[in-house]
Symmetry: C2
Subunit: 254 residues, 2 copies
């Protein structure tokens, strides 16, 4: 090992760009401040027991690159919140009681247990409704749209959700399901399942900032997707593949 | 709100498939057991200060759906480990001292500070080398390949990394950079930046299980990517866009 790491930058040009970026950040903070408080957008992501890990973390990765953005993981109580598999926990830095206003609210999806838990949690639903009154954007990923619907926010609207939950969403609420990667209805944006949150977050960046910023963030996270297979769209999937997908999900969840 | 949630399933067919899945899991555990211990693969993801959130969480989402898989977040010490932005923390459930063997090791990438920190952490590098002796697959996302290289695992190999770190990887180590989404070299698989970990994880599922399982997991996480822009490939990006991407990254990191 003959690498000298103390004097080098792993990312080409980082030293130079850091100075530029700091200057740019000061300028943006001074002039733009479109999201209140003189800084960038205040983005809150709601965690609840049994969420799917990528639902909050994919958008968080993208949205955290917005100039001066603050991304806060929020839950009913502060502390570690476990995913649907029970294996992984992300820390909620704030409780819902500590958060009065958000520029952007994101509600992730969950497995069956987690989604139903959130739908039946009146304290969470009340907080979602309260945040929504003042948000610039209220968003969801996967079955998070079902939680938004349970909070009464999607009445009469078009929305998307996890492919296997589309019938449930339409039959339970006054919502028109659209099989799209994300759906905007007024200031509400719903994304399809799990990984669709990344696409939605880039769209959201283009709305909050501009297309050039969204394109730069896409490059920053090297989002040039090339999955080894082309099996992610439920409308092209065989009944057997759908069944196998739901089996694997169910078996992985606690 | 007239939804009745206690008797319904949000995901169509979940109740039926759960029983099937449990039976299938028992059969697989009894017959297959290719990864030791009579259960599925033991997958460890190394967290270290300053990692990029999506690097570990994207693959964790995918790999956690492998039948009977255990995904464990591991760090030098147990507890919350913060990302490059400082906003978000994932819990390390085990310390490196508590983990002797892994079927799959995944090393995520980080910003400049985090990557250099990991490269200079001899305890981490020793542990990576020790795990690698017995892994079935040793993998990385983004600048995680630079950490693998610092541990001496990539000598004379082909690998990929974050686009802005390719020159550093090649000039510092005896490694040939390939501008691919992921690169396999023996039992080592390196992925490109951040979001490439999701593509790599699906490929890894196809190697550990089979193509049909990978396709089903891709559907399970609805990975049918449709970003609103097509700017994620550095080889197509203008110098201005690259500069802007690195500015946004640097400004978001602590």
């Amino acid at each position: 090992m003959n690498h000298s790491t103390t004097r080098r930058n792993v990312l080409r040009g980082t030293a130079a760009t850091a100075a530029l970026a700091a200057a740019a950040a000061r300028i943006e903070a001074a002039y733009a401040a479109p999201h209140g408080g003189g800084t960038g957008p205040n983005i809150g992501i709601l965690l609840y027991d049994g969420y799917s890990l990528l639902d909050p973390t994919g958008p968080a990765e993208v949205l955290s690159r917005l100039p001066d953005a603050t991304v806060t993981m929020i839950a009913e109580k502060r502390g570690a919140v476990r995913t649907d598999t029970g294996d992984v926990a992300v820390v909620a830095e704030r409780s819902i009681a500590e958060v009065d206003r958000l520029d952007v609210l994101l509600v992730p999806g969950a497995g069956n247990r987690g989604t139903i838990g959130a739908m039946n949690n009146e304290a969470l639903l009340r907080w979602i409704r309260r945040m929504h009154r003042h948000t610039q954007w209220t968003t969801s990923v996967c079955t998070g749209s079902i939680v938004l619907a349970a909070a009464g926010l999607l009445d009469g609207r078009e929305a998307t959700t996890y492919w296997a939950s589309a019938d449930y969403l339409q039959s339970t609420f006054n919502v028109t399901y659209l099989p799209q990667r994300y759906v905007r209805s007024g200031k509400i944006i719903t994304a399809a399942g799990v990984s669709a949150g990344v696409d939605m977050a880039l769209y959201l960046v283009s709305l909050i900032a501009d297309d050039d910023t969204a394109k730069a963030i896409q490059l920053a996270v090297e989002y040039d997707p090339h999955p080894p297979f082309d099996s992610g769209n439920a409308s092209d999937a065989s009944p057997e593949l759908k069944q196998r997908a739901l089996q694997l999900l169910a078996a992985s969840q606690i």
